[in-house]
């Protein structure tokens, strides 16, 4: 069966009234769950799983997949509007997205995020359809050593993309890695720094920390600086990205799509890595790097496309080999299994209706998401017109509910409040707290990969330089450090300036 025949068969499945309805239900739920903090694709799919018991297999998977990529659309909304990331992959979007909103450009930010997500989702589906088997053969060569060095590279990028100085970025990144060591360690399940408290066995959660450091700290900061938001409201005129915006955004969207799709093939927090790498690349590629952190549209377009493309990329290992590479695809796999389907190399022969039907539905679903999300931009932007006396307490409530709802744990709410106070103090001292949150997510993945690599090599660190891909990532990381050091020297900045605050920090 050629791809075209397959696709024709797929659209015949996806375009039936019933399946269009389930596809719509899936992407709608996904968008809503993505907007709500604390509930991401994993919880969303798991909650809806029992509801699909009675559906035909193709309809069930179409709906569950819709929830998965739908959440990636919703995640950026709260990041841009109120500086609260809807999920880990949207933390980066806060940096420039919320700055744009503060400058009265929430509309263009939301618009470019929606269209970037659509382009990435659609191109990613093409990639999934045409390139899955050959790509997977390459991705399999990516072992623990390569993964370790990729995360090291991402962490170095992270330190340089912070709005405060590199030294401060490195410091907070290291602090985030330390926070990530709390809980049962990933290899053998022994408790670390838990003080015997069961609530800490699962580690410090990403959601409460992100809600505190971003959401609550932002509210405290705003409450402490009256008058700042008035400026925003006065200038809230532009609803759509303009010509100049598109000229700046289309390249980041395409680059983000490529980066995201490739990162999506890898295990673990791949969408997070994709958004960080995309942001770093855009900052390097831009002719106006100084605008990053102060509302550069590239900083929204790139990472938001990247996290959506990563969602498509993450389906490659599932479809090509039947192997889930990240928590959301693992619950999606459970969805396949419940319906007696085994995704993998044999699926396309055994159940072509499901295989091609789900693929075709992803084109349909992404188009639905665009139609669904663009009109919402106008609605969401109006939220910013709500006076601070009402908006700020509402966001605090939103953060508390979000932190609580992850595990129905009051401890998480206290972690959120503590992170909020810490984040407020850090901002006032000129620290950008994004590296903490991202390092917290990457830390356990780094530890697992590093330890696996060292077990395989018998304890020899040579494995990180003798494997070509691993050596490449390390070289890139080193080059980035040297390049930045040279740039700093060229500007003849005194050493003290490296530690000094950059104006306009978070």
């Amino acid at each position: 069966v050629s791809v075209l025949d397959g696709l024709a068969q797929g659209f015949a499945v996806a375009l039936t009234c019933q399946n269009l309805l389930y596809c719509f239900a899936g992407v709608l739920l996904g968008t809503v769950l993505g907007v709500m903090p604390g509930i991401g694709p994993v919880a969303g799919i798991a909650l809806l799983l029992p509801a699909t018991f009675a559906l035909p297999p193709a309809s069930a998977i179409i709906m569950l997949a819709g929830i998965f990529y739908g959440t990636m659309y919703g995640g950026s909304t709260t990041s841009i509007l109120v500086n609260v990331p809807g999920e880990a992959a949207s933390v980066i979007t806060c940096i420039d997205g919320h700055e744009m909103a503060k400058r009265g450009r929430a509309g263009p930010a939301l618009g470019v995020a929606a269209i970037g997500s659509f382009v990435a989702g659609t191109v990613g589906t093409v990639g999934l359809m045409l390139l899955a088997p050959p790509l997977m053969r390459v991705a399999l060569r990516f072992g623990p050593a390569e993964y370790t060095t990729l995360i090291v590279f991402a962490l170095v990028v992270l330190a340089f993309l912070a709005r405060s100085s590199t030294l401060r970025g490195l410091l907070l990144g290291a602090f985030g890695l330390l926070l990530g060591t709390i809980g049962l360690e990933p290899m053998s399940g022994h408790g670390r720094y838990t003080f015997g408290l069961p609530d800490l066995f699962d580690g410090v959660g990403f959601v409460p920390v992100a809600m505190g450091l971003f959401g609550l700290a932002e509210i405290l900061d705003r409450a402490a600086t009256p008058g700042r938001t008035e400026v925003v409201r006065g200038r809230l005129t532009q609803l759509w990205p303009g010509r100049a915006d598109w000229q700046r955004a289309w390249r980041p969207i395409l680059r983000g799509t490529g980066i995201g799709f490739l990162c999506g093939l890898l295990p673990g927090p791949n969408a997070v890595i994709a958004s960080i790498v995309s942001y770093g690349v855009e900052k390097r590629a831009s002719r106006r790097p100084e605008e990053f952190g102060h509302g550069a549209i590239e900083g929204v377009a790139g990472p938001e496309s990247a996290n959506n493309a990563a969602a498509s990329g993450a389906l490659v290992p599932l479809f090509a080999l039947g192997l889930p590479s990240s928590p959301p695809t693992a619950v999606l796999l459970a969805g396949f299994l419940i319906h007696g389907l085994q995704p993998g190399p044999l699926l396309v022969q055994q159940r072509p209706d499901v295989f091609w039907g789900v693929l075709a539905s992803m084109y349909v679903g992404n188009a639905m998401l665009l139609v669904l999300n663009l009109p919402l931009v106008g609605l969401f932007v109006r939220i910013l017109r709500v006076p601070d006396v009402y908006l700020l307490p509402a966001v605090v409530l939103f953060c508390m509910v979000g932190a609580y709802s992850v595990a129905n744990s009051l401890t998480d709410v206290w972690v959120m409040v503590g992170s909020g106070l810490f984040g407020f103090a850090a901002r006032r001292l000129g620290f950008d707290t994004a590296p903490i949150v991202l390092a917290l997510v990457l830390g356990p993945a780094l530890e697992t990969a590093l330890r696996q690599a060292l077990i395989i090599s018998g304890g020899s660190p040579a494995i990180f330089v003798t494997r070509p891909l691993a050596a490449l990532f390390l070289a890139l990381a080193a080059a980035l450090i040297v390049w930045n050091a040279l740039a700093a020297l060229r500007h003849r900045r005194p050493a003290a300036a490296l530690i000094a605050d950059t104006p306009g920090g978070v």
């Binding site: 990933p186 039947g322 693992a330 696996q452 395989i456």
Partner: protein, 294 residues
Amino acid sequence: MARLVLCALLTALALVSPAPGAAAEFPAKPIELVVPWATGGRADIIMRLFAASAGKQLPHPVDGHTLLAATVGANVIRPLTASLPYRYDSFAPVGQITASTLVLASKADRPWKNLAELVADAKKRAASPTFGCPYGVMPHIAMIAVGRRGGVDFKIVPQQGDGPSVTAVLGGHIDTIIGSPAAILPHLKTGDMRALATFGEARDPALSEVPTATEQGFPVVAAPWTGLAAPKGTPPAVLARLRQTFEAVMKDPEFVAGMDKLGERVMPIVGDAFAARWKQDQEQWEEPAKTLRK
């Protein structure tokens, strides 16, 4: 973080015993079925199927008694490797729902055709072949037991589950995976992987050409089971009623069909025979698991 919640839940359960006289009105209150695993996972799905069927067997839809989804990992192995407030005999086994086999497999381009060849080759080269599976689970301990029998030091590269282990084997990063047939079978069919041994008492019907470890001279039997347990001290009459309901569910065609869809075979063992199985596993794994105790 299933493990943790697990300990907490099991502690709580061990303390709960039904009020005296509960037998008379059983099942007068809703039965709570505790599944200390992730939502959407294998155990969760099986227990949802079970609850749906049990609801039909009992006079009331569900009914203040607590039942626990039990597995060999949580109820026998885990108390052997970690300091927990319970051990294998802290519960009253109700029945086994299903048991599977473990498969040891490697990438098809590796030189060994079976476990015996793998052990002989490792001995000849004085090598420590790597295997992938989660740390401290039955597959891990089974490989320790095989290694002791064969005089080879197998090296674990801990993985988060069968999926990542398969990926690592296919990518050539580790030598073997020991895990469930569900994850491995598709790759045996495509010819990308080769099964070296299974660990049942007899050969697995789906892998009839693969010799068991015992056949190859390594008498290690590892058949991870999933079943149901009640708190210790449950009155005999209540326990009997539970076992009766359990047997009825095992014969419910809808339940069997649901399990079949999941690729799980219903293999009921009820009551004392199931308790004997817990004891047998305890005796087999106690010694090899000691090396993991910290």
